[in-house]
């Protein structure tokens, strides 16, 4: 089974986001970068599917700055077989990114293309289903579990207040969310092996972004709160405030 996993380099989810002087981008200094957490779930799923099948080829693909090779190497160390960096400047436009990916991966004839349900920086949640449409493949989004058997794909998809059980057929695109399996850490052996695995870099032209960022701002400051009191004795006052002042009870 041939599986492609698209992974994105994003700021660590615990890092403090500082807006740069231009007012429309993020100051990259001092930020630690990671594989977007949802993409890690996708990669973990790909490695498990390959292990279960007993054979296969897992290609990790990134779109973005040359520095993304760091995350692709991590993907190789986790167990992917090959890596491809489509190097160019991506912006906040999922369709532009999906077009770059579609052009690069269509010749790979993958059985399955996996992505994280969303990138932990732009939070757009759109590249997966857009890529599927461009490739003419069926797509299941936000899968918490995924099974592949005899060319049939079954996924459990989280919806409000429930779970959908969704079916489709290979070749397919699936976006993953957190499920049963935590992503593995690269082993020392894996890190050593990754140095010898193929990592191809291909320069690309990203279509001009049609989502124009006018301004980046910090979240609105919350007005300073107050400590109502200590212990159970403070509860009646808390309930009174929620009822009379905040009017939420």
């Amino acid at each position: 089974m041939k599986i492609i996993v698209c992974i994105k380099r994003v700021p660590d989810t615990e890092s403090r986001i500082r807006i740069a002087e231009d007012g429309i981008s993020v100051d990259a200094s001092g930020i630690k970068y990671i594989i977007s957490p949802y993409d890690e779930y996708a990669l973990e799923m790909a490695l498990r599917l390959k292990e279960k099948a007993g054979e296969g080829d897992v290609l990790v693909v990134g779109v973005g700055a040359a520095a993304s090779t760091e995350q692709l190497r991590t993907g190789l160390a986790m167990g992917a077989d090959r890596a491809l960096l489509l190097s160019g400047a991506v912006e906040l436009d999922g369709l532009a990114t999906a077009k770059v990916l579609a052009a690069a991966v269509s010749s790979e004839k993958a059985d399955l293309i996996l992505l994280g349900a969303k990138a932990a920086d732009t939070d757009q949640q759109q590249v997966g289903p857009m890529l599927a449409e461009l490739l003419g493949s069926p797509c299941i989004t936000v899968a918490a579990s995924l099974e592949v058997e005899n060319g049939a794909v079954t996924a459990h998809r989280e919806i409000e207040g429930g779970v959908e059980i969704v079916d489709t057929a290979l070749p397919a695109v699936v976006t993953l969310t957190k499920g049963e399996h935590e992503p593995r850490y690269p082993s020392l052996k894996g890190i050593m092996a990754a140095k010898k695995k193929p990592l191809e870099e291909r320069p690309i032209d990203v279509p001009a972004a049609r989502i124009l960022v006018k301004e980046l701002t910090y979240p609105p400051e919350r007005p300073p709160g107050r400590i109502v009191g200590k212990g159970a004795d403070a509860v009646p006052e808390l309930v009174r405030l929620l009822h009379e002042e905040a009017k939420v009870l």
Binding site: T13, R16, G94, E160, I165, T168
Partner: protein, 325 residues
Amino acid sequence: MKLLAVAEQRDGTLRKVSFEVVSAARAIATELGGTVEAALVGGPGTASLAADLARHGAAVVHVAEHDALSLYSDGYASIISELVRGDDWFAVFFPASAMGKDLAPRVAAKLDLPLATDATALAAENGELVITRPVYAGRAFAKVQLNAETRLVSLRPNVFRATEKAVSLQTNALAVGEPETWRVRVREVKAASGDRLDVGEAPIVISGGRGMKGPENWHLLETLRDAIGPSAALGASRAVVDAGWRPHSEQVGQTGKTVSPQLYIAVAISGAMQHLAGMRSASTIVAINKDADAPIFKVADYGLVGDVADVLPRLSEEIRRLRGD
């Protein structure tokens, strides 16, 4: 100028977010001098839901109904794309729900249009639509414009207010297309929580953290939820979900759900950055924690320092008293 609001039904009932999307579209239409129409896809009988959309200001309700559309499938994207392609729309608004987040990108790709996801505010400036949406899980907000003839935007549930503005009902039946060509099918929907609201949509959310000490203490939170009533849902911190105490569907924060309830009660949650990202847009935040220095108190409107075993039973009792039970 015409704007389209894509509504959502489940099991033959309109979801609340549908009214939010129609109302938000109407607010923009009023500023720009346009009209709002709505689209709704579902199983047999869906057309009977159109009146409720007209009551919120949809001048025309486009309806596609068919047995094969009772549950969501990729057919929805084909139907909506054809409707959008067939006319000049200034903007199309989708709910940023589980359905809308699957549907909108497919429509965008089919029509080669850019899409802004999960908007939390809309404005009309100099005749152009300005969209505010969170990035970095709410650690920053981006104001964006879409450089396209038709602007596709999905709206975060629970943020835009649903308001009524009755117009006379006019419906238009949409072509369903060829169900046999659809390739992704929902075979079954399993309700995780019976009739309870999802944590992502409930007006009141009570979340428990690691300070609850174990899943066996969750009955304290369940009692509080029941005291508040059906508008309340339970959430959990990432630590609690990682420990296997609660399912991922309840997780609030960066790798879980982003919530914007009227009231968020954080119980025994310290307030890591990735949790705050998921709940800081709540209207009112209450924090209950025994550590007076916990970072959660920095974002809370009302803080109570104390042990959950003492505080929660009393809180449930006082709320019942308030409700007159």
